[in-house]
C-alpha cells in the first residue's frame, strides 16, 4: 500500500470517528446538561422552600431574582463563600419578598467528615436554624460565643462560624443592594 493511500485511509478513519463522536455528543448533550444542573436545582428548591423553582430553565448561576409572571419578585438567591477549617465553604442563601431568610444550604465544602459536616442537612438540622431570620438582623448575626444569638456546634466552631459570617456578610450586602431585576420567572 502506498504511503498516500495509507494517509488517506487514516484521514478517512479520523473523519468518521470525529463525525460519529459529534453525533453522539449532540444526542446526549441535553440530558447531560440537565444531569449536571440537578444538584443546583435541588439546592435552589431547598433554599427557597418552593418546589416550583425546580421548573426554572436557563442558566441557574446565582445571584438570581425569581419573580412571578406578573413581575413581582418572590425570592432572591445568592451564592456565599466562607472560609472554613478545610478551605472554602460554598453556600446558597435564599431570601423572600418579606426580607426573611428562606434557607441556607451548603453546596460544597472540605470540612472534616463526622465533625465539620454538621453543616449538611443530611447530618444535622443546624443550618435550618437560619430559616425565617429577618435580613435586618444581619449586623448582629454571630455565634453565641462571639456575642450573637446562633448556637455553634461543639467541635465545629470554626466551621459554623464560617457559615454564620458568610450569611451575615451576604445579608448586609443584600440590605445595601439596590432592588434587583428579575432573572427568572416562575411559570404556573
Amino acid at each position: 500500500m502506498s504511503p498516500l493511500i495509507s494517509a488517506i485511509r487514516l484521514a478517512a478513519i479520523g473523519t468518521a470517528v470525529a463525525g460519529a463522536l459529534a453525533a453522539v455528543n449532540s444526542v446526549t448533550r441535553g440530558r447531560i446538561e440537565a444531569n449536571e444542573q440537578r444538584p443546583m436545582v435541588k439546592a435552589l428548591i431547598d433554599v427557597t422552600g418552593d418546589p416550583r423553582v425546580g421548573g426554572l430553565t436557563g442558566s441557574l448561576d446565582p445571584p438570581l431574582t425569581i419573580c412571578l409572571a406578573t413581575g413581582v419578585p418572590l425570592y432572591r438567591v445568592r451564592h456565599i463563600s466562607g472560609r472554613g477549617y478545610g478551605g472554602a465553604i460554598e453556600m446558597l442563601l435564599g431570601i423572600d419578598a418579606a426580607d426573611r431568610v428562606t434557607g441556607v444550604r451548603v453546596i460544597g465544602h472540605h470540612e472534616s467528615r463526622g465533625i465539620g459536616d454538621v453543616i449538611e442537612t443530611d447530618n444535622s438540622a443546624w443550618i435550618i436554624g437560619f430559616n425565617g431570620l429577618p435580613v435586618s438582623i444581619a449586623p448582629a448575626l454571630a455565634l453565641t460565643r462571639d456575642g450573637g444569638t446562633i448556637d455553634g456546634v461543639t467541635g465545629a466552631t470554626i466551621t459554623t462560624r464560617a457559615v454564620v459570617s458568610g450569611v451575615r456578610d451576604a445579608l448586609v450586602e443584600t440590605q445595601n443592594a439596590p432592588a434587583t431585576r428579575c432573572t427568572h420567572v416562575l411559570s404556573g
Binding site: 500500500m1 504511503p3 493511500i5 495509507s6 494517509a7 485511509r9 487514516l10 478513519i13 479520523g14 470517528v17 460519529a20 463522536l21 453522539v24 455528543n25 446526549t28 440530558r31 447531560i32 444531569n35 449536571e36 440537578r38
Partner: protein, 183 residues
C-alpha cells in the same frame, strides 16, 4: 484443552491483565475502594474493550498497516468517549464516581494489546471471545480488590486509603503466584 478454554484460561488467569501483566493498575488501585465502583468500572472497561475490538476487527482490512497504532487509538478513543457520554446521560451519579478513570480507559495498555490481536488475521468469533475473557479477567480482580477493601475498611480504615490498595493488590498477586499462576 479446547482452544476456547485455553483462551479463557490465558486471559482470565495465566495472563490476567492485572495479575499477570500488571496492567490497568492505576484504576485498580484508585477506583476500587468499594464493590460498586469496582463493578461499574469493570463493566465500563469491558464495554470499551469488546466494542472497540469488534469494531476494529470488522474494518481491519481497511486499516493501513503503517498507521495501525493511530488508527486503532482513534477507534478505541471513539468507543471510550461514547461509553463515557452514555454513562453521563443514563447513569450520571455513577459516572461521577469513576469519571477520571473512565476517560483514561483509552490508555489502558491491555485494551491496546487486545486491539493488536484484533487487527491481525483472526476470526470474528475469536476476537470477541478474546476481549470478553480479558475484560472478565480484569473485572474479577477489580471486584476482589474493591470488595476486600470495602469489607476490611469497616474495621481498618487503612484499607480504603492508597496504601491499603497496594497491600491488598500485592497480597492478591502473591496469592495468585502461590496458587501456581505462571505466565
Amino acid at each position: 484443552m479446547s482452544y476456547r478454554a485455553d483462551i479463557a484460561h490465558g486471559n482470565g488467569w495465566r495472563d490476567n491483565p492485572a495479575l499477570g501483566r500488571l496492567l490497568g493498575l492505576c484504576p485498580l488501585l484508585v477506583v476500587a475502594t468499594n464493590t460498586v465502583n469496582a463493578l461499574v468500572l469493570s463493566i465500563a472497561a469491558a464495554a470499551v474493550l469488546v466494542t472497540s475490538n469488534v469494531f476494529i476487527a470488522s474494518i481491519r482490512r481497511f486499516i493501513p498497516d503503517t498507521a495501525r497504532l493511530p488508527a486503532t487509538m482513534l477507534l478505541i478513543g471513539l468507543c471510550t468517549s461514547t461509553v463515557a457520554l452514555l454513562m453521563q446521560t443514563f447513569a450520571f451519579d455513577v459516572y461521577e464516581r469513576i469519571a477520571v478513570f473512565m476517560q483514561i480507559v483509552v490508555t489502558n495498555y491491555f485494551t491496546l494489546v487486545r486491539a493488536e490481536t484484533a487487527v491481525q488475521e483472526r476470526a470474528f468469533g475469536y476476537v470477541s471471545f478474546d476481549s470478553i475473557t480479558t475484560a472478565a479477567g480484569f473485572g474479577i480482580v477489580l471486584l476482589i480488590v474493591g470488595a476486600t477493601r470495602e469489607i476490611v475498611g469497616q474495621g481498618l480504615p487503612l484499607a480504603v486509603l492508597a496504601p491499603g490498595a497496594f497491600l491488598i493488590a500485592g497480597l492478591l498477586l502473591a496469592a495468585a503466584n502461590a496458587l501456581g499462576r505462571r505466565s
